[in-house]
């Protein structure tokens, strides 16, 4: 079973995240970044599938030079090889363009049996790339899988909704996006970390994928961030001093805000 996992390099959610003042895009350079936590679940799931049988796990990312850190983490976890699509023209791409670049890269890797993704990135939090990518690759899209079983020529996934769980089956090849409920991602073992140094990482530009600069990037984007402003600092909470009437004060505080 050959699996491609799409992974994204995102600003650390713990860090101070900002936009570039010049073009309102996410600042990915002046901030500590890492493999999107939600993608770790996809990498883990791919590794589990291959470990239970056989096959090759290829991780693909589209991103700036630092994005190689996300690939490295996936290789340390146990992926076999990596592809890094990097091109200045990609800067500012929207989800449509990102899915286009990913689709071309996956075709160049060679169509796998299974494409896995996280359910969304932790920076954009849109969660639309998986379906767009499936559409471009002509694959059935199974999204938000919280459980996944892979058979010889089909996958069965469980999708947990608020009111009910659906069980969905799709023929292979297929694309599946996974939730953070599906598994517990491993931390890289020392042998994994040592071995990752020797694993192959291919670096491709747009030209390698037969794409031109005007198909991607900020100018081709359907949506743009037109303005941003920092969230106002959080106000200090109200401290109620209990002078025998604390309960009443609390109740009226809640009532004023229509909590009760």
């Amino acid at each position: 079973m050959n699996i491609v996992v799409c992974v994204k390099y995102v600003p650390d959610t713990q860090a101070e995240r900002t936009f570039n003042a010049s073009d309102n895009t996410t600042d990915r350079v002046n901030v500590d970044g890492l493999l999107s936590e939600l993608d770790e679940y996809a990498v883990e799931e791919a590794l589990k599938i291959v470990e239970a049988g056989e096959g090759v796990v290829t991780v693909v990312t589209v991103g700036p030079a630092q994005a190689s850190d996300a690939l490295k983490k996936a290789l340390q976890m146990g992926a076999d090889k990596a592809v890094h699509v990097i091109d200045d023209a990609i800067h500012g791409s929207d989800a449509l363009a990102t899915s286009l670049v990913l689709a071309k890269a996956i075709e160049k890797v060679g169509m796998p049996d299974l494409v896995l993704t996280g359910m969304s990135s932790t920076d954009g939090i849109m969660g639309v790339v998986p379906t767009m990518l499936a559409e471009r690759l002509g694959l059935p899209a199974v999204t938000f899988a919280s459980d996944l079983t892979v058979g010889a020529d089909s996958v069965t996934a469980r999708r947990d909704g608020d009111a009910a769980s659906q069980t969905i089956e799709a023929a292979l090849p297929a694309l599946v996006s996974v939730t953070d409920q599906i598994n517990e991602p491993r931390y890289p073992s020392f042998k994994g970390i040592m071995a990752a140094k020797k694993k192959p990482v291919e670096t491709w530009g747009l030209a390698d994928l037969g794409l031109s600069a005007d198909e991607v990037g900020l100018d081709a984007a359907w949506t743009k961030v037109t303005a941003f402003e920092a969230r106002p600092p959080r106000q200090q909470g109200t401290i109620v001093k209990d002078e025998g009437d604390g309960g009443g004060k609390l109740a009226s505080f809640l009532a004023e805000r229509k909590f009760i």
Partner: protein
């Protein structure tokens, strides 16, 4: 009003930039594993004096911590600096957990790797690397700690022919992992000087009762080894180790890990304390806003950072293959002594809360009392440094 952009003690020193990416990745994996598998249980393990060492060893082995800086035989073969940083994270959790790893990797596995036969290595190292087999290291005796050369444990040959069996008798004391070990590396006097033996712990005549009543390293197994005419085949002897240099080479490895490890305990104390003083209100303002508090914090940060710079420097020397034993003494003496001082000072800032297992500071301080004593006491390291400076051995 407090400025929200504070730095941690080690951020202030900028030591992160001195660590290369692979060593950092290894360190991060250790930290992540400890956060879920170890830290939530520490207070309880220390309080009860019980640690599930067997299961824990498997977890440590899965990550690759056991014998991590050795080459081959299932070991990861990392840099010495990575090993040090792993010890630092382990000891930031608890010195007892770091002791388990030190004894397994640097004492027992290293002894076999460095001084054992090919057969010894194949028989023991792969299973010790995964944590399926646990090792201990028996050098100290009830009456011989700082001067192991005086040891009374004796290995006698049963006959004079080549290939004759050995019979070991004697008592070892304060042996980490003793009661849970599958194999004991036992150092014994012979007619041919001090030699090392691999003793499977199910050999008749071997027993390892646990030592009770410890007020330090409670999350670690410490035992007595009783060797009552333990008969071993000739092949049980480590062929390449002759004299005290055998065990001392192993101690040197473990001491190196402690140079980093002790700082982990100090870092943990300082981090907890910084958080505590920020939230503890005394006379209507946070404890962190008092000058006396800040003087303590600044002084502790200095010692932690200086210790870290020393550790990283010694790590580079070890990776370059030029680290000398007396330099290991510099690091062990300084970093354990200063870490213990930091743990005690942190305890003062936590007041009464500091004396409970709800906070790690007194647990660390108590643990560091053992660390100060084992792997060469502070006094012994002063004597090593003194000899290097003066040329005068003053041990006896």
């Amino acid at each position: 009003m407090a400025d929200p952009t504070t730095q941690t003690p080690l951020e202030l020193f900028g030591t992160e930039a001195l660590i290369d990416a692979e060593d950092r990745a290894i360190r991060d994996s250790v930290r992540a594993m400890l956060a879920t598998q170890v830290r939530p249980h520490l207070a309880e393990w220390f309080d009860s004096g019980q640690v599930p060492a067997r299961e824990l060893s498997l977890e440590l082995g899965r990550l690759g911590l056991l014998g991590m800086h050795l080459e081959g035989y299932g070991c990861a073969g990392t840099s010495a600096t990575a090993y040090g940083l792993a010890c630092l994270e382990l000891e930031a959790a608890d010195s007892g957990i770091r002791s388990l790893v030190s004894v397994q990797g640097s004492l027992a596995m290293f002894a076999i790797h460095r001084w054992g036969s090919e057969e010894h290595k194949r028989q023991w190292l792969p299973r010790m690397a995964t944590g399926e087999a646990i090792g201990c290291f028996g050098l100290t005796e009830p009456d011989f700690g700082s001067n192991p050369a005086g040891m009374r444990t004796y290995a006698a040959r049963v006959g004079s022919r080549d290939g004759a069996d050995w019979v070991l008798s004697g008592t070892k004391m304060w042996i980490t992992n003793g009661s849970i070990a599958d194999v004991a590396v036992v150092w014994a006097a012979t007619d041919d000087g001090i030699r090392g033996f691999l003793v499977p712990t199910d050999t008749p005549g071997f027993s390892a009762p646990a030592i009770k009543g410890k007020l330090s390293l409670r999350a670690s197994v410490t035992s007595e080894l009783v060797l009552d005419e333990v008969r071993l085949p000739a092949s049980a002897m480590l062929p390449l180790a002759r004299g005290l240099s055998g065990p001392l080479s192993c101690l040197n490895e473990a001491r190196f890990g402690i140079i980093f490890g002790a700082l982990g305990a100090a870092r943990d104390c300082l981090e907890v304390t910084l958080d505590y003083v920020a939230h503890r209100q005394i006379f209507d303002k946070p404890l962190s806003a008092y000058q006396l508090t800040q003087a303590k914090l600044a002084d502790m940060t200095l010692e932690l950072g200086k210790g870290m710079l020393l550790a990283l420097h010694l790590g580079r020397l070890k990776d370059a293959g030029t680290l000398r034993p007396e330099q290991v003494s510099l690091g062990k003496l300084n970093n354990v002594r200063e870490s213990l001082a930091i743990a005690r000072e942190c305890r003062t800032l936590l007041g009464a809360n500091g004396i409970t297992v709800d906070y790690p500071v007194l647990r660390h301080a108590n643990n560091l009392e053992s660390v100060l004593t084992y792997e060469g006491t502070s006094e012994v390291h002063q004597l090593v440094i003194g000899q290097a400076l003066t040329g005068q051995p003053a041990f006896r």
